[in-house]
Symmetry: C2
Subunit: 135 residues, 2 copies
């Protein structure tokens, strides 16, 4: 099958510097971070406001793309299962999906709560959460 | 910024053959389709069962990647807004996010309900829906 190319639309700025510091999942931990969006796509942010819920799609650039089975939540006591049945960052296309709350928007910098990605992680897309679609 | 490459993990098989036939959004319309997953990543499906809710991430290969502002739901009466504040397929990285219900799993073929992608659309990832993370 054909490959496709992804171009990051920005980067995460976070006090989480290494993968082992990142919470297993961002939302319950309520980690705050900034999405530093590329000025070239600034127009794409029009309409995003404080208080919005967004899906932030990241690219886990440090993930292992060969992994197909993992222990869920890295818990050795749980039997391994397929990566597509888990939220492991290790997977063939290491896309992270995090639902975040927008705390503020200043130009191309979005401050958000609930992101489990480390500093420097590429951001590849943002989408509004729409209850009728996403529940 | 660096580009990354994506390799599809499968394709959509659907009676929707062209983009204009696709519903604005898949879930309310309840469209049934099949996810034909590549046998090379079959192990990644272990643990996915009938009745599961999954996010299916697709690559809208026919989308316009230059578009930064659109009329939401293609409704000309609504003012244009940034693509990151909409679910438009036209966006810099044309990833589609659809929450689907798994109707059956037979080998590497997942029959699902709620997908708005046309026949042949590349599938790039599958993730379980986890209420504590995704609401």
């Amino acid at each position: 099958m054909d490959d496709y190319w992804l171009r990051p639309i920005g980067r995460v700025r976070s006090h989480l510097k290494q993968r082992h510091e990142a919470p297993r999942q961002g939302r319950p931990a309520g980690v705050e971070a900034e999405l530093i969006i590329d000025k070239a796509v600034k127009k794409g942010l029009e309409g995003i406001d404080t208080g919005d819920k967004l899906f932030a799609l990241c690219w886990y650039h440090m993930a292992d793309r060969q992994t197909l089975r993992v222990h869920p939540r890295a818990d050795q006591s749980i039997a391994k299962r397929g990566v597509f049945a888990t939220r492991s960052p290790d997977r063939p296309n290491p896309i992270g999906l995090c639902l975040v709350d927008v705390i503020s928007v200043k130009g191309t910098v979005l401050k958000v709560r609930g992101l489990d990605a480390v500093d420097g992680t590429p951001i590849i897309d943002l989408k509004p959460y729409i209850k009728a679609l996403d529940t």
